[in-house]
Amino acid sequence: MHQYIVKRVLMMIPTLFGAAVLVFFLMRAIPGDVCELRLAGTGATFDPDALRLCQLELGLDKPLIGQFFSWIGGFFIGDFGNSMWTNQPIVDEIGLRFQVSLQIALMATFVSIVISIPMGIISAVKRNTWIDYCVRGFSIAGIAMPSFWLGILIILGLLIGSQALYGEPWMPPISYVPIWENPSENLAMLIWPALATGYRYSAVATRMTRSTMLEVLREDYVRTARAKGLVESVIVNRHALKNALLPVVTVIGIEFAFLMGGLVVTEQVFNLNGLGKLFVESVSNHDYTMTQALVMLVALIFVLTNFFVDLLYAWLDPRIRYS
């Protein structure tokens, strides 16, 4: 087991290094650089000296390979550099947004579990009946609905609903407050994007639960349990569910990793200042250092989540022993 863990940790290195190479050179492939944009933004006439000075300050004049290794080297001493756009330390800039994204990802994952597991079980047990068709239709609709449209509908529903109930329109709060400062206001703001994304992401987990449940319900030990006269609910919940949940854990884990960086569109609709929005901003500003740091963060979360899911697997299923 220890050997397996060490091996897995070592295997992360090439993936992360590859991601670093990919993002570094992709960013440089984008036409134009951050200095041109910064100078264009001030509205001043384009001064080639100022451009050169700016590039000199940011180290953009050095050879690409040198830039790459000084950036990578920074990781090992915990120096992630400053944003090329705002000049603020990247750790501070990301830290603010990380809170928002993490909370939404956790809440959305919770919503997705609460929706998907019961629905998947019902759909498998009542297979090929109208209940099954409804559940499947509902979950496919979740994948089909664009998250920004669902967001618009939720906001619209809140406006109309509050108008009808209280006589005046209510909108979720606009500015973010940490949950430990004002829990009710924090939840009033973040619950809607969490519901929207949670519903959307529950679809995959629902289908996974349904298909693994169907498989497990055909197993011999389920027939034995039926033969010895156990109540159907005990068979489903105790015998079948425990064995069907493993692949669902993987799906939910991978979804969580994607939720951390992939909520670009939802953040746009609900006007949230999360990692996705920061990513879009930094790409369009050609903010190399910030984009690189964000991509590395997303890749790291993805790799780590995969790792923990695999460990959880071994813990949940004693038959799996990594060697």
Binding site: G18, L22, I140, M145, F148, I152, L153, V265, Q268
Partner: protein
């Protein structure tokens, strides 16, 4: 490869050939959701082909006397904040969505197919490196990858297609590779090799046709995703640009502002996206159920 909807035994047991209608009702009974999806897909494709005939107005024509006019007999689904007919824009938007969806998924899955089979066929170091590279590409969410591509290539229909195609390649390659691994061990591949056929010929003529099932499953899954991705990019202002009518674009900017006073501006384009992706997904699911013998139950 038995890709027909009917099991071979049923065909041979009944000497009288079934009429098309009987075959259809049989499929409809087994795959009611898939048939419903198929109808939606056909409807959307017809709408895209005959957009000029179906749409009552020019999708870009602004009617200055009817800004955000409510749905009615004149404008079936109302007009937007610039006085353009929402229904005509949705019909023409179908053309953009279907075009982007089909081109991106066929090209992306096609390249992934060749790369995946090639990687499985050559094996060894090539396969190992190939897998690592695919892992790297896969460790980013689809939308992040597409955004990065848009940043490099720019916006517009053709560039959006490239931006959506590239992240599809590793996703298809990975699935195809795993089924190609078992095909590689088949005697006919050995036979082909012993005759002295070239690698290209073995990969393209002998192995590719035998991994068609996962390939088709991936394509049908991709079309819906591509439509959704195009809509998301266009909504963010990074995809299809005005004046080309696109569903995501219709929801950009005005839709949220006018959500309360003119909800039809926000509701109908979103409904079109949802319906289209819903249809393609249902259809894709049915295709998967029929092609994948492991999932074919009863």
């Amino acid at each position: 490869m038995a890709t027909s909807e009917l099991p071979v035994t049923a065909e041979t047991a009944a000497p009288r050939r079934k009429t098309a209608w009987q075959q259809f009702t049989r499929v409809a009974k087994r795959q009611p959701l898939g048939v419903a999806g198929g109808f939606i897909v056909i409807l959307i494709i017809l709408m895209a082909i005959f957009a000029d005939v179906v749409a009552p107005y020019d999708p870009t024509a602004m009617n200055y006397s009817a800004f955000t006019a409510p749905p009615g007999s004149e404008f079936w689904l109302g007009t937007d904040q610039m006085g353009r007919d929402v229904f005509s824009r949705i019909v023409h938007g179908a053309r953009t969505a279907v075009f982007v969806g089909f081109v991106a998924s066929f090209v992306g899955a096609g390249i992934g197919l060749v790369l995946g089979v090639g990687s499985a066929y050559f094996g060894g170091k090539i396969d190992l490196i190939f897998q690592r590279v695919m892992d790297i590409f896969m460790s980013f969410p689809l939308i992040i990858m597409a955004l990065a591509m848009v940043a490099i290539f720019g916006t517009g229909v053709d560039k959006v297609i490239v931006a959506i195609t590239i992240p599809f390649i590793p996703r298809c390659a990975r699935v195809v590779r795993s089924s190609a691994l078992s095909v590689r061990e088949m005697p006919y591949v050995d036979a082909a090799r012993s005759i002295g056929y070239s690698h290209t010929r073995i990969v393209l003529r002998h192995m590719v046709p035998n991994v068609m099932a996962p390939f088709l499953i991936m394509i049908t899954a991709f079309v819906g995703q591509a439509i959704l991705l195009e809509a998301s990019l266009s909504y963010l202002g990074l995809g299809v640009q005005e004046p080309i009518p696109a569903w995501g674009l219709m929801l950009q900017g005005g839709a949220e502002l006018y959500a309360e006073s003119a909800p039809w501006v926000a509701i109908f384009p979103g409904l079109a996206i949802t319906l289209a992706v819903f249809g393609f997904n249902l259809f894709g699911d049915a295709v998967r159920d029929m092609l994948d013998p492991k999932l074919r139950s009863q």
